[in-house]
Symmetry: C2
């Protein structure tokens, strides 16, 4: 029996190594790839997907799985992950998996160009193709599976194992009323925090963002920071890379993107090294991942004490920028405004952005919305939720990379991550009475250690919800996030 | 029958795409990889090698090969390349292929550290391991093969199909006497070209090197230039990347490394796009590859008219550097001196560097020299051939990356490339009467077109020697290179 487990794990380790290779290829595409290599890259991605698909659905894996019977915790988790991957691969034909890899690799460049040129129509045929392929995949995955036949649920399950669309909807229902009420109170408030003024040199932004990455526990010997069109984190174990972006007029874009991606990276880097290149050797789900990026970015990084430290750093590095005291700076960092862009959104509006995408993508996948109607559906909904008309596609449906690369079912995990971050922050605060002093000194060591010890090191040893529950000491719920937001923004906006 | 060929080619195309992925992983390791990711990278490289080995030795490939019977030129060449790769893969056990990939990925970092610290002994255990693995591979390849049982020949055949160690030795014998005589006349000459003085800003060097890359036909939309410890070229088709390096006191290092690598890159980029991601879709051999880099670097790039153009560019960009007229600059660019470093060597000493390595590595592989004795063997031979004692390991046996990554049998192809470049230049000159005027204007268009039309576009459609013969209109020989060197250096050194 031990032999069977060893054979299964040896195979799984190589698969995990190849998944890292495929991931690095995606990283390369976003950061380094020559412009005219896109088509060739599509073939390369498809070839890698073919290899991975064949390995995951290898009949020997099925044979080993039928014979193995692990008893120990880690072995059980490894086998469960392998089984999941095997069953998934059996449902999706290799031809479809490769076609998705090829098309989404190409469509990313087409999306980027359409976004740069504000040309929705030039993107629509590609998006049609992606939607059709992903619907086909979703239907294949849903057939006869636990997901109960719902293809959106099946896709969601890829990112957040065990989560359903109905549960997402319930989560949004739990959040929406208090978020909308909070938003209204804030917008009605006479308090209007100042904006930053001045220009912020790109090099100085990058230098400060590297400092921030280290403060939040990024091991730069096992990672690197580059710039890309959109910030992301890629890789596991000893090679976890992040990207950020720089806007000269808005240093927060670079700095908080970096902190956000550092949260993701520190999660991957913090997984127990015994799990390196194994099925459980990475973050357990996108929702839990997002809890790590969001707690760093928001609950810690946008806190009153930490922004005081950041204020000093920014004054040292950029000189004057129109704001003269830490209290005002704290308010500026947390300024609430109905902007177009999700990734630049404040904590109050953020989840409203996600809800919009969730409803639209669920309708797209369910066949209740066509790609041709997507832009007007987006714009109608945005006006309704945000009270502002979308002025151009790059501020509307072309802003996010996700759909171009086939990430349907991914968006809800952002809000789930926020909810989890709220729960984790409550527990972390309770355990670290000296947290505010640390934050005010730019000292994140104790918080990083807490997150690593209570959550990150486990990788995918436990399920997503169990991972959060173990770290928090209680089941996750929406309360802590909402309480935190109301307290924080009530203090800033004076209600 | 057409179905069989199609199936074989579909499989081969995916293999070619995966080879590109593996190649890009090596590029990443040298340019982008975080320091502490080396061990994980070794696992990733080994996993990719396992995939490639399994594909190359796939029984279906054997079956298709037994049934296919191509008649048309391209199909014949494709099938011949696939057969070669299949037969090679059958001889080398997967376990050995993967172990070589893992160990050579790791040993590269160990070599780089040993070189940086001048610590030969810290590298020897790793080199022992690499030598043992490559000897095992060489013996496996030589068994029952065309190579006639000689493991060095078998390895050489990987880089220069059809070439044997005995042929290499004959080539060196044909070159050595006239090269040594030329060297002695030069060193005895009272003429001593001036060295450059001053400092040359890194950014300006990089900018000029980019200009040079474009002059020599590098398509920057299908490639990129980075800096690395040693210059190299990586990739095929639409994603061909080069690296260079910068020494502030010696701009020629950066500039001529860039021209050299551009020659390699322009070859890969110049292959007929119909061959993209197929077995014949890249350079046919290392010797032919080196002919492309060396003709750009030397016969064209270090010519009297081109150095005149470069002189003007350098004056514009760097200001004064102690040399005031183009004639003197030409002599400086071509200054002959018995330096330690092969890659920085003049054209007269270059092949002596290669001969040293050829004899040592052949002895290592044949078991006539141990790794423990390698350093003293190197130093003895260097003193004998160059009249100078090696002062430190980084100037001796630690200077080249090749052996650390298992490239035994590779060095002779450098000299073969020089010999081929001599032949090609003779033919190119005869066909392009306006060449000198073009070179003096920094105009390489006609020369690039000639190389592309007569050689590069064929990829691996013909064998290496046939490729050169077709381009030159006659069989390659040592005469043109020696004639060129004697004429050029006779003019510079006044004899």
């Amino acid at each position: 029996m031990a032999d069977v487990y060893d054979a299964l794990m040896a195979h799984a380790r190589e698969t995990a190594a190849l998944e890292q290779v495929a991931g690095r290829l995606s990283w390369d595409q976003e950061t380094m790839m020559p412009r005219d290599a896109a088509e060739q890259r599509g073939e390369e991605m498809a070839a890698m997907e073919g290899v991975l698909h064949a390995r995951r659905s290898d009949p020997r894996v099925g044979d080993w799985l039928s014979k193995v019977d692990p008893v120990e915790l880690v072995a059980k988790a490894q086998v469960a992950k392998i089984r999941r991957s095997y069953e998934r691969a059996l449902k999706v034909p290799a031809r479809l998996a490769q076609e998705i890899a090829r098309v989404t690799s190409l469509s990313q460049g087409i999306w980027a160009e359409a976004r740069a040129n504000e040309a929705v129509t030039s993107f629509l045929p590609t998006l049609e193709q992606v939607v059709a392929l992903k619907r086909e995949e979703g239907q294949a995955l849903a057939s006869g599976g636990k997901a109960g036949g719902d293809s959106y649920d099946a896709m969601l399950d890829d990112y957040e194992p065990g989560m359903t669309g109905a549960e997402c909807a319930a989560m949004f229902d739990a959040l929406r009323p208090r978020l909308v009420a909070l938003r209204e109170k804030i917008l009605a408030s006479p308090r209007k925090p100042a904006a930053l003024t001045g220009s912020f040199g790109a090099d100085a932004q990058i230098r400060l963002s590297r400092r921030l990455a280290m403060v939040f526990g990024y091991d730069m010997q096992r990672g690197r920071i580059d710039t890309a069109v959109h910030p992301f984190c890629s890789g596991s174990g000893d090679d976890v890379r992040i990207t950020t972006r720089v806007a000269e007029g808005d240093p927060f874009n670079c700095l908080y993107s970096t902190i956000h991606e550092t949260g993701h990276a520190a999660y991957e880097q913090g997984v127990d090294s015994d799990f390196l290149l194994t099925p459980i050797g990475g973050g357990v789900s996108m929702g839990v991942h997002e809890s790590q990026s969001r707690i760093c970015e928001n609950q810690l990084g946008r806190s009153r004490p930490f922004t005081e430290w950041l204020f000093g750093e920014m004054r040292d590095r950029f000189g004057e920028f129109g704001i003269t005291d830490p209290e005002e700076f704290f308010a500026t960092v947390n300024r609430v405004a109905p902007g177009y862009i999700r990734t630049e959104s404040d904590e109050v509006h953020y989840n409203l952005h996600v809800m919009l995408r969730f409803d639209l993508e669920r309708a797209l996948m369910g066949g209740d919305l066509t790609v041709a109607d997507l832009e007007s559906a987006w714009n109608d909904r945005f006006l309704k939720d945000f009270g502002v008309a979308v002025d151009k596609p790059s501020n509307g449906m072309l802003q996010d990379v996700h759909w171009s690369v086939g990430l349907f079912g991914y968006f809800p995990t952002y809000t789930l991550g926020n909810l989890y971050a709220g729960c984790l922050f409550k527990a972390l605060r309770a355990d670290l009475p000296g947290l505010d002093q640390d934050l005010a000194a730019g000292e994140m060591g104790a918080a990083n250690d807490w997150l690593r010890e209570n959550l990150r090191r486990h990788g995918a040893l436990y399920g997503p919800r169990e991972t959060i529950t173990r770290a928090c000491g209680e089941e996750p719920s929406a309360g802590p996030l909402l309480d935190y937001l109301e307290a924080k923004f009530g203090a800033i906006y004076g209600f």
